[in-house]
Amino acid sequence: MTRNVAIIGAAGLPVRKWQTAPGDEIQVLEHEVLAKVVIEAMADAGADKNDVASLVFAQPRPYTTQKYFATFMANYLRLPCTGSVVEILGNGMTAALAFEAAANDIRLGRAKVALALGVNFETATPAVDHMMNSMRATGDVDFHSPFGFTPISWYAMDAARYIHEFGSSRAELASVAVKNRRHAALNPIAQLRKPITLDDVLAQKPIVEPLGLFEVPPRGDGAACIVLADEEVARARGKPYVRVRGRGFFHEGAHQINEVPNDMIALVAAAKAAQAAYAEASVSAQDIDLAELYAPCTIIEVLASEALGLVPRGEGARRCSEGETSLGGRIPICTSGGLQSRGHPAHVTPFYSFLEINQQLTGRAGERQVANARLAATSAELGNYNAAMVHVLEGVG
């Protein structure tokens, strides 16, 4: 018998710079921060510690001094497990893969309750040094890195191609950042909450042309915990929960670029993952009430919203500028503020998407609440959306 998986609780640290420098006398350390988030998430879930049988971690950044972090935390939380205690790594998709591994332990009957959790601390390492790592993750070390490609340089090339093919304007693309900041202003855990105008976005210094500072993610630290459970456990609590209705994954077998020329900005992995998730959930894109997309840059939100079928191809930027993807619009996207404003502690970023959807689908999103939200989609990705994971989630009760 296939068991249904539910999200029954979630918590996330406000995204900002938390990490202390190595020489600081008083340190802010990952395990203490994450432990408190776990307690908060379990209180939100109303679940029994004794039912937790799996701990699936997003692997911390290399700057986290404590190694074998998962097994260290099993001790710190004093949590014997019969399912799994494991760390997972998959670039930007890391937390979505951790979520899936936790869900699989429930599907396999190995856990009634499983935690998908992690902490991403990185801001004590300057951006120029951090990029020495990240350029090796988002490129071929011998055939891309020698030229100086940075992680977001690939997204910038998506933007250039999109403008070239669809005649979209810079202002239309930049409207995504304005919209996301407006959403973040309503989100207490967002990193950047001060409202900005279109002129502000367009006036920023270029980072990777044509994208400026406000169209790329700030660096941030974060920690989050998602409590997953067998749906029977979720139902027995007598409180609203979120059911995992569908899941799709696709890796196009390419790393940053496809060596056989293709339509790079179609985000084929996102499109195929979405089709699979919608099929498993027996829904179509038109049924989705809101979406929390993994989109580090403005252009990527546009391309992912098109690939998931939420807006028509080539019209994503314009539709955003017209308010269609804003709170109160036809299909609100990234009500958390998205990666540009909610923040992007990369290894745990998809956890923050599940956290937002959990709040929305259980009617607890406060000023950000999407009225009558029942079905939501999330996406996560790695590379230049060379791989994508899409979930369809449903509010119950």
Binding site: M135, V141, F143, F147, V208, N258, E259, N262
Partner: protein
């Protein structure tokens, strides 16, 4: 022969060379741009590989490339890793070669190039070894 530009400094982040890829890099130093073609399925790979990524055959032949193609996309990097600090800002892009191969490299252009512009691969001869780049062909 590829056009050659001499650059009087060392590479910021040199590629590693294997017994297999040294054919590519030493050829590039001599103005040749080549990759592997599969003897079994006839498809090209880029970067060159000791296996065919398409059919997994291990029978391959080094094949010269024209070095001619089109600029698929490009950007200018204003915030880059430590090793490239002295080169910022620099222009990079994606090129589709006429043979049906996509690659990523530095772009040489005086002004912002139009996408789909014709480009040619050039050898960048640094003091410590070669890299390649794509130069926009001005009509």
């Amino acid at each position: 022969m590829l056009p050659r530009l001499d650059i009087d400094r060392t590479r910021a982040y040199p590629p590693r060379v294997t017994a297999f890829t040294q054919t590519f890099w030493s050829g590039l130093q001599n103005g040749e741009f080549a990759t592997t073609r599969c003897d079994a399925c006839d498809k090209l790979a880029f970067p060159p590989k000791p296996i065919c990524p398409h059919c997994w055959s291990t029978r391959l032949t080094w094949t010269p490339l024209s070095g001619l193609g089109r600029l698929y996309s490009q950007t200018v990097v204003h915030a880059g890793p430590t090793v490239f600090a002295s080169e910022i800002p620099y222009r990079v892009g994606i090129v589709d070669l006429d043979e049906g191969v996509r690659l990523a490299t530095r772009i040489i252009a005086d002004t912002e190039p139009a996408l789909d512009a014709a480009v040619e691969i050039v050898t960048l001869a640094y003091r410590d070894g070669p890299l390649f780049a794509a130069r926009v062909i001005t009509p």
